[in-house]
Symmetry: C2
């Protein structure tokens, strides 16, 4: 099967010449260089430019025709590939744009961006010290600081691909702590495990309960007050109800910064109930956790140091880039490892020549895992703790400004006084302003936000989310995150909604 | 609270000036530019250079001192940050290096790298068409082609953060298909669910079973033959045993390309048994799936078209960058969505102005999700199907060359004739070559690979994994992936092991 071709000294196996690489590295490097220029000009330099469109919107069938998506037998040439890069950028939503307000992330952070470029170039996977020495140490350092900001003396943690996944980890960890046998024996034949969370919680609670075999019916949703905060007395009642039913309560998931309203559950009172009943307290601070960086605003999370675990996503208000999500655990008896380990002998050899306690990969449900902590570390290094604090303070101040503007302007109506940077409001077109607030009014108002959304998408002037929520008809949710955003952008937002919707 | 300062026309809220952005975008852009130069010179241009070290190894405590990891109150200046970038790169393992053979990924793919840079710059999350129009269409196109390569007429799928996560998805999906009530009711009170996989399977099977509440004891491991392939007759016996026990068999997880030995389970025979017993057939082809791209080698996966679901990671042999992992599902009745949906009304509004069937995020356990399909798409565009095929053929030809060299050389001993590009072998130092293969021999041989590993790490000449496995003492596992690798690198590998270990 192996043929030596003496003239060229080449080795042929199964018709494949094995001498030298098959990749033209010079051509590859040239492509990276040319593409980087496009990225710099078309994405990075335009990120702060409000005169650019947030998106050039086309419906799916049309966009498929505009893009050349087909993968062919033969490769495309250099120039054609660069054109594809430009098309991809052109038709993508600019989430870096100062007027992208559609999600809980926005803006451009130049430092985390560099960390992400380094990550992609080095292409590491974070599980063993031998393969990822730097990134494991960085993760350790970042987790340590985050743990300090929660107010724990010690703890453990891991970065995960999303806050939803962090919430799942916490749920499984609480279950393991409650009954370690479940790891091996499973849930079959056990009493019904029940967990508690507010009716304003993130939808990942339901996803986690079904994925983990607990079942969505065993998530008991606790009533919230008019601001969206869990009512502790209702929690107490539901725990007692579960006990009476013969079920096994094991976990309370409080929320610090709910997705729609930005509400913070009263953690201290909830911690009292958890202590009394011996329940694990997990705080989903995926969104609100960043307020811990601000001495002024960290009181929103008063009592968080009493939690057993916390999910916190620096990719949201701290702009570390998607995804950067930590699960932090107060326990320091290696619970995370006991719960998750599978002890793969090909990866976690115990006879290595270094301290294998740095091989943290067996704490994870993943095998290959990205060095997400590194992105946050780089931003922290560049801005310092005070720079991160300034971001949080500015976002909350901008939110306050917007609230006051909404109160001043005719045709705008706040849903509620916000605690955080989610500002929920209705725009009431002039045709509805004199109508009585009866069923017809609400029905008509429900249709306003989707039409304005369609118009802003097609114009490309900004992006802003809307939703119906718990009996309330469609309203806008404005979220302030990025330090690129200024007072002028808040004014623009309201002017633009009025401009797009005044004829409705 | 709001103070107008007329002289500067500034708006102050809570002491924060809200006019203009707080980010210096010019300084940020300069930092990105300067850092990109470093990345180009220190990572990308050195990737193909065998004279560079694979790693500059230091033990954890020393590396902590070499790196300035501390996050301070104030930020670091431009030049200091660039120095940090250089340090991060310097002390990281160069997984792009032609002599990095340590994991199931390696090498540099310039095209997927550009896609990853674009991704990081645009910072998208893939859940709704309004936010990720391009990346959702790209994912759809890539999934469609991967489904064709499996041999299904139609299907569905999703990209996940790792093959382990894809395996979990499949396990949960099979369970949902078996009993949809579990989503709401959970496993409590149900009979014991049992799944079957080979004893050579990936460790994510155990992780998934414990995470999903099934329990690791309910993973029935099927005996393999001497090449590491599941024995179908043993599977039949175990299914019958589970039924006799009153348990509920629901799933068989076959493996196409095992992690250590690179073995392929006999899919066609396993599919017969699944059909007979009405069991879901999942194939973990995370590693071996890429052989489907080769007309010559796809026979390794003969019968895969009969699977109900397949996990396949293009980030391994097809070099799409970590992570790029598809779960593919044969069902086309929207099972993935039914199983996973939580219908969050703030994200998946049904009154949008476009076809919301493109909002695929509710098929996922994640909320924010990265556009991993895009990396593979870009490489496919650049190389064409034939270029991808060539990569697979070359990797297998190089593996064949290495096997033949091992057979020729004194002191090297193959564990088994490989099917794929995992070449498992012992290096026997001259002091052991004349010893009888008794307990003392094996005990001494067990200690050889760790010492050679330590020496190669400290020298930085290459990286190669070793492990004990199923009663076999520590052996090397060489994996061939990258097209940058040549016959010369295979020769070097054997020479270097001999050089590092001959005195043992």
């Amino acid at each position: 099967m192996i043929t030596m071709v003496p003239s060229r000294n080449a080795v042929l196996v199964n018709g494949v010449i094995l001498n030298g690489p098959i990749t033209d590295s010079k051509a590859g490097e040239k492509f990276v260089e040319d593409a980087c220029k496009i990225i710099m000009e078309e994405v990075i330099q335009k990120a702060a430019d409000v005169t650019e469109k947030v998106c050039e919107w086309h419906p799916p069938e049309k966009l498929k025709k505009l893009l050349d998506l087909e993968m062919r037998d033969t490769g495309e040439p250099h120039q054609r590939l660069l054109q594809l890069c430009q098309d991809i950028i052109r038709y993508s939503v600019k989430t870096n744009h100062p007027r992208f307000f559609n999600q809980l992330y926005a803006g451009i952070d130049y430092y985390s961006l560099v960390a992400r470029f380094i990550t992609e170039a080095l292409n590491p996977s974070v599980y063993t010290y031998e393969v990822s020495p730097v990134f494991l140490l960085v993760e350790e350092a970042v987790l340590k600081r985050m743990i300090e900001f929660i107010g724990w003396k010690e703890g453990d943690g891991i970065f995960n691909p999303g806050g939803s996944v962090s919430n799942m980890y916490a749920m499984n960890l609480a279950r393991y702590k409650y009954c370690p046998d479940i790891k091996e024996k499973g849930l079959s034949g056990l009493p019904r495990l029940v967990l508690f969370t507010s009716e304003e919680c993130h939808y990942s609670m339901n996803k986690a309960a079904s994925f983990l075999g607990i079942g969505t019916q065993n998530v008991y949703f606790i009533t919230t007050d008019e601001r969206g905060k869990m009512i502790p007395e209702e929690l107490e009642k539901q725990v007692q109800r579960a006990r009476k039913e013969g079920a096994a309560p094991f976990l309370v998931c409080a929320t610090a910064g709910t997705t729609v309203l930005g509400a913070f559950d009263p953690l201290d009172k909830i911690a009292d109930i958890c202590e009394k009943h011996g329940l694990w307290l997990h705080v989903d601070a995926s969104w609100g956790g960043s307020a811990l960086m601000s001495r002024k605003h960290r009181k929103l999370l008063h009592g968080i140091h009493r939690a057993d675990s916390v999910a916190w996503n620096p990719h949201k208000m701290l702009m570390a880039g998607i995804q950067c999500c930590a699960l932090l655990v107060k326990d320091n008896s290696d619970l995370l490892k006991k719960c998750y380990s599978a002890k793969a002998s090909y990866l976690f050899q115990q006879d290595k020549f270094y301290d294998v306690s740095y091989d943290t990969g067996d704490k994870s449900i993943q095998c290959s895992r990205r060095p997400d902590a590194f992105k946050f570390w780089m931003t922290w290094k560049a801005l310092g703790t005070t720079g991160l604090e300034e971001r949080v303070n500015r976002a909350l101040a901008l939110a306050r400004y917007l609230v006051d503007e909404i109160k001043k302007r005719e045709g705008f109506q706040l849903l509620l006084e916000p605690e955080y940077t989610n500002i929920c409001f209705w725009y009431i077109p002039s045709s509805l302003r004199k109508m009585e607030e009866g069923p017809e009014f609400w029905e008509k108002l429900h249709q306003v936000a989707p039409v304005i959304k369609e118009r802003m998408m097609k114009k490309g002037s900004m992006m802003l989310g809307y939703q119906p929520h718990r009996g309330k008809v469609n309203f806008f949710r404005q979220v302030v995150i990025s330090p690129q955003v200024s007072r002028e952008d808040m004014d623009f937002l309201l002017d633009e909604i009025d401009l797009l919707g005044r004829d409705l």
